[in-house]
Amino acid sequence: MTASPILMRGVSKRFDSKPILDGLDWEVGQGQVIGLLGRNGAGKSTLMECLLGLRETDGGSITLFGESPVALSDATRARIGYVPQKSDLFEWMTPLQLLAYFKALYPRWNDARVEGLLARWGFDLPLRHTPIRRLSGGEQQRLSIIRALGHEPELLVLDEPVSALDPAGRRDFLVELIDGVIERGTTVVFSTHILTDLERVALDVAFLKDGRIALQGDLGDLLDGAASEAGQGVHTPRSLEELFIEVTR
């Protein structure tokens, strides 16, 4: 029996005196594709940063594949990929320099996949040699996704990965996620406010509210359940959007 990709028990995090995570329990199993939902400021980014060991917590325990995120072995680190909401690191590098830098950090790197993504996602030769700070928001976000996929992680954590992409770019991203990531059995956790995208790829959703996972379940069951609970002969189905409003309000 292998350890869960993500296991959080009683995790707390305060900013000043305001609790953001408040005794949060969460487990994400191998191969789950789960959407993390919550209002603005609910703490989705904080949750992701804490679980990856990028922020200290005030209490509770977290393990990634059975290891503490603040003391990950290199082998386990190589199993994890992360796309932050906004990254302003490495802005002086060009895309090719950035990818070469990250390639050197990992034991495994799929050059063919990275090259394919660069080509499909509009990174022509001039763009590959342009400093990252001069790329558009969408180009930076696409590069960040390519960087996170290069070492073929088993756990992929995506924080608003498509916020800067147009509808065509979002669709390309979804197809890539399905084709090369979900099909390989990768565990995926991602947050987004674009519920229609989420519905296409996530099988499960988790709602973060008041510092805890308020509701988690199979997306189809949650929509079906919302429809049947309305009951009394009146069929009043709820969309994911309506469910979101109801759960997070």
Binding site: V33, D179, R200, D224, T236, P237, R238, E242
Partner: protein, 132 residues
Amino acid sequence: MSLPTPQLFSIVAGSAEPIYRQLVDQVRRLVAGRQLVPGDTLPSVREVALQLAVNPMTVSKAYGLLELEGVLERRRGIGMVVAAHTGNTGDPGDRAALLRPTLERAAREARELELDPATVLSLFTQILKESA
């Protein structure tokens, strides 16, 4: 016989109908309306998933449910085909029942728009004539 694969299915994300159920309903309607006949091959899970940009597990779930219902059957080396005995396809009453969820949705929206039944029915009649 293989099907014209270009976009056999279409889905609407963000509706109250989970995606797997939209797929199930579409196959049922296509079979009931004889656009799909016994022996027809359905596109693979992977093809549908990539075409619609949905999780392959969602497509598998839909195909699995249709197999349980006896609408589809799994053939080794071929994939999913429309089953020979699909039961209720002949009866117009049964076929009409498949339209009910869509009409219920339309009826709800009509009430929300405060349209009277006569207006809605005449509009529907007109649409039926247009597409005939």
